[in-house]
Homo-oligomer: 378 residues x 2
């Protein structure tokens, strides 16, 4: 291939401040870990790293679950692993959908043969325990799925009471913690979540490509007593767990570098401490909220259910939201995101997650947004 | 979490020479690319990189297929993407299995509801066109799957004639090129392969976690005329292609760093040139073969079907193969691998792929192996 270097230049991305819904910015320590030379996926060194990673993941998930592992794909793969392993064809599944990711859970559950019932709330609202209770009384289910931190709306769904209701109804609870883990409390064991998954590229501030997941004893019981094979080879946790367990049986080649990154990202979290980290996310979010309101911008989600990790300001009347985003990117190297689905064109999505959740980023964004809005309102 | 740094030390792996079946060693240029700060998965910079990556992948696959992309998982995920998208429930599938990965293809096809027939050959043998022809005459199929480079046996399966037979029978051909792409010719368009997939961590010499895949027009036709949804959300190519196509619709967050790595790895291949690269793999493999035979070690696969990228020497009588591998790892920092499945305990697996395929690695391994065998034969 001739003149490759001209046609295909060396990687040299613009220096973005990433304040969208993910990927968030990656700590230089994690980037350094990514550049570490590889060892094999069955190397004794790597196996020790796997053990340490599992311990650190349990700390972050606040769980003692033995089956706490990273799945070899993004948060979406961890979501699919949860659904694929917990839903057998014909299983009755209740999905609570108040945003894009709730509906995706329903789509996945249907693909795995689940008999899916969806209850919905407007995007930005949360479900009350009574709604879930009523739905389960009207039609019992084996599995209930709900999103704790809806990345498409910025709403934080309380799941404490819902977990009790689900268990009283004899069902398993799957909770999406993609945009919460490491940024707001998830408390898997205290709440009694059966399957909880997340992504690496949000509050854990690692590159996307690896998806943490934890299964309760009840969930493992369901996994091991399935009457049919999991309809997904790559994400079959019955097989994957033999690699992460004492057998160390080869299943697929682990993404070594992504595991390095996750380990380093988790070390950083452990050093900061979960409580301090939640507090930092809260503090920087409040700075953003106050600043946005001072600019006369409304926030889509009421304070009581507002997610500190992802904020959804409403696009002011008469403003072209895409033009603003493009201007922020081109003139300030800041990435924020537009709305998804029902909220497309109506809100922006601003993430303050992990390494991106810093006071200087909030101040920069507010200043840039003020300048931009002034310009485009003229 | 107290005293994290003591409990969880900084990443500092032993400096391994990776000569197993993958991951192979990663070029320092690719490691550097992995450490590059991230941009968003819809950033104009990233979209340009995606376009360039697709062009380079087409070069390596030797194809003009528009739908040539990396899947967001390891080679196993690319394998599953191929099967999940091409096999609809009830489809008749013929799988040619002469090793571990052929049987895995059959397992996957069954999980997706395929009506699977397996023809088998001893591990290390290859299929003749006549065998495939006879099988298709006895039972027509919609899809035929075969492994070009069987990582479990070291056999190189010719697929030219088989492709013609499959097409004459009106079926689609899926070819596993995990251990061949970038190391031996694959020639997707010249042969007429309909679906061809690979992994990043073999001859492309990138970290594991991203799986190149290409679909012919016929395969895209099958994809777009399916009567049912793909039973896999994450790997649904009908959705994934909207992100890689002009729509740029969000599906899941692309693994940005793995894409950086793949791009850099492909640039290196384009600079070396495919022909020169095949020649290098062949030359170093021959050096290894001659050296092993000089040590009195038999090679499991006859020369005519021997894969240059992965060699399977038979374990000499009276030698504990695991002890040898452990010694090579502990005393020489060299990783080679043991046999899988039928060949467990009977062969070693030595990979000379991508950046690992270097003369100095062969010489080091031969010297280390000679010392080790001398010691353990005493």
């Amino acid at each position: 291939m001739t003149s490759t270097s001209q046609q295909y230049p060396e990687i040299n991305p613009p220096p973005r401040t990433l304040l969208g819904p993910g990927p968030s910015m990656v700590d230089p320590r994690v980037l350094k870990a990514m550049a570490t030379p590889l060892v094999g996926h069955l190397d004794p060194y790597f196996i020790e790293l796997m053990n340490h990673t599992q311990q650190l993941l349990r700390y972050v998930f606040e769980t003692e679950n033995p089956l706490t592992i990273p799945v070899s794909g993004t948060g979406s793969a961890a979501m699919e692993a949860s659904v694929a392993n917990m839903v057998e064809p014909g299983d009755k599944v209740l999905v609570c959908a108040n945003g894009y990711f709730g509906h995706r859970l329903a789509d996945m559950a249907e693909r795995y043969g689940g008999d899916v019932q969806i209850i919905v709330r407007p995007w930005g609202d949360v479900f009350s325990p009574e709604e879930v209770s009523a739905a389960l009384k009207a039609r019992p289910a084996q599995v209930v799925a709900i999103v704790q931190a809806e990345t498409s709306t910025g709403a934080l769904q309380p799941v404490d009471e819902i977990a009790k209701i689900v268990h009283e109804a004899g069902a398993l609870l799957i909770v999406d913690a993609v945009t919460s883990l490491g940024g707001v409390p998830v408390r898997v064991d205290a709440i009694g979540i059966d399957v909880c998954y997340s992504g690496s590229q949000k509050c854990l501030s690692c590159p996307p490509g690896i998806g943490p997941l934890t299964l309760s004893e009840r969930a493992v019981q369901k996994l091991t007593t399935r009457s049919s094979k999991v309809r997904n080879w790559y994400l079959d946790l019955g097989e994957v767990r033999k690699y992460w367990g004492s057998e160390r049986t080869y299943h697929h080649t682990a993404p070594i570098s992504a595991n390095y990154a996750l380990y380093e990202g988790l070390r950083i979290i452990a050093e900061e401490g979960l409580e301090a980290r939640w507090e930092r996310h809260r503090r920087n979010a409040e700075l953003l909220w106050n600043g946005l309101e001072a600019l006369g911008i409304e926030l889509h989600v009421p304070l009581e259910h507002r997610l500190p990790t992802l904020t959804t300001p409403r696009v002011p009347e008469g403003v072209d939201e895409a033009q603003v985003r493009r201007h922020l990117l081109d003139h300030y190297n800041i990435e924020i995101s537009g709305g998804l689905g029902e909220l497309k064109g109506k809100v922006w999505r601003i993430g303050l997650m992990g390494y991106s959740s810093r006071r200087e980023n909030v101040l920069l964004l507010l200043a840039a947004l003020e300048e931009t809005l002034t310009q485009f309102r003229k």
